[in-house]
């Protein structure tokens, strides 16, 4: 090996996919969507309209990342989702 030759690895500028790019975005919330199971008919409208992919097909809300935009509550045809003010410590 030439004395000027160094063993170098390589660097990559590739990002890795994962949830929470912006951290726990649930912390952004001012209002929290709360679902009333009694009123839910599993129509899936809230699931399809959630811009953050934080509602599962079983209509479970992922509060770690839900940003509280309120779309699910407005679009729910049965009024099963209400936006409730967050209590912050």
């Amino acid at each position: 090996m030439d004395k000027n030759e160094k063993k170098v690895g390589y660097m990559t500028s590739m990002s890795k996919p994962g949830k929470g790019c912006a951290g726990d975005t649930g912390e952004w919330r001012v209002f929290k969507p709360v679902k009333d199971e009694e009123k839910c008919n599993h129509c899936l409208l809230c699931w399809i309209f959630c811009p953050e992919a934080t509602i599962t097909k079983d209509i479970e809300i992922d509060y770690q990342y839900c940003k509280g935009c309120g779309i699910c509550a407005v679009e729910c045809p049965t009024g099963a989702i209400t936006m409730v003010k967050e209590e912050k410590q």
Binding site: P17, T25, I48, P51, A53, Q64
Partner: protein, 310 residues
């Protein structure tokens, strides 16, 4: 029949992104990915999507993704498609991925139009999606060629005075095999158009209206409602262009056929802060009239005439 139930559960757009609350671009990506699946390469030009995908070393998008310069959407896609073809020829790739170019209205109507036009003329095999929030959102709300008359932006402080471009018509004039418009309020219509685009060879152009809560000044909870109102008042027409023919779809089809009544444009303007100033000004009525005329002109261009009940 496609129903919500039949849509894949897998999310390729990952929660906890850097997008604003109620971001139309995030929802558009989410639904587009459900249609195209994981064998997709996403290309993004400078826009809000460059930001909402997350910053190095994190990505909110679980697909191979390449960012490109603002003006280069069509050219970047052309290069990637050529690269894929070469790999297939050499036997290094079996299943060709779908190439999805994702750009804003600024990157499409204005700075990216020549690269897009070149790619379309070369019949490059890719899907080009323009998510149109009618302004340069990422840099803080400047006007674009897609901004409608009367809308406030930082560079049209008194409301824009010029017409928006009809870029879908420009794409139709390229005689590409598929051109379609879509709305987030009608997700199955959008999903089906993406599925269709995936199966067609050549350049496919799909444009989606993307009401941006901070830019258009309305509460994030109303993003879908505003998307729906745009269609109901005719400011955003849903259609497909295939085999030389225009075909209205969904809610727009029902409106053109007279099954539902077209709503006044002013209802749509009033829910958005960006039209507040112009509506309150002495030119308010004139702006309203010009936008109604814009709707009629768009229908006429696609349909040949405007039904009297509209």
């Amino acid at each position: 029949m496609v129903s919500f139930k039949s849509l894949p559960e897998e999310e390729l757009f990952l929660a906890g992104s850097t997008a604003c609350q109620g971001c139309p671009a995030s929802l558009a990506l989410r639904i587009a990915f459900k249609a195209l699946g994981s064998n997709t390469i996403l290309l993004v030009v400078a826009s809000c999507t460059s930001v909402l995908q997350g910053s190095y070393p994190h990505s909110a998008i679980n697909l191979p993704l390449m960012n490109a310069a603002f003006a280069t959407g069509g050219a970047t896609a052309s290069g990637v498609v050529a690269g894929i073809k070469a790999l297939v020829k050499r036997g290094e790739l079996e299943e060709e991925p779908t190439v999805l170019m994702w750009a804003g209205d600024g990157g499409t109507y204005d700075i990216g139009i020549q690269a897009l036009s070149g790619a379309a003329e070369r019949e490059t095999d890719f899907i080009y999606v323009c998510y149109n929030n009618e302004m340069y959102s990422n840099t803080g709300t400047q006007r674009s060629g897609a901004t409608p008359i009367g809308a406030w932006t930082t560079t049209t402080p008194g409301g824009k005075v010029q017409h928006r471009k009809d870029i879908a018509q420009i794409m139709i004039a390229h005689r590409i095999p598929y051109v379609a418009t879509a709305s987030l309020a009608y997700p199955l219509d959008f999903y089906q158009k993406m599925l269709k685009a995936r199966e067609i060879r050549g350049t496919k152009y799909i444009e989606l209206l993307a009401p941006c809560p901070p830019g258009w000044k309305f509460p994030s909870s109303k993003m879908i409602e505003v998307s729906r109102m745009a269609v109901q008042c005719g400011m955003w027409l849903l259609y497909e262009h295939e085999d030389g023919e225009n075909r209205f779809t969904g809610a727009t089809k029902r409106m053109i056929e007279g099954k539902v009544k077209k709503k006044p444009v002013v209802d749509y303007l009033e829910v958005q802060g960006r039209f507040k100033q112009v509506l309150a000004s002495p030119e308010g009525k004139e702006a309203e009239r010009m936008l109604e005329e814009d709707v009629s002109e768009s229908i006429r261009r696609l349909h040949g005439w405007v039904p009297e009940y509209i």
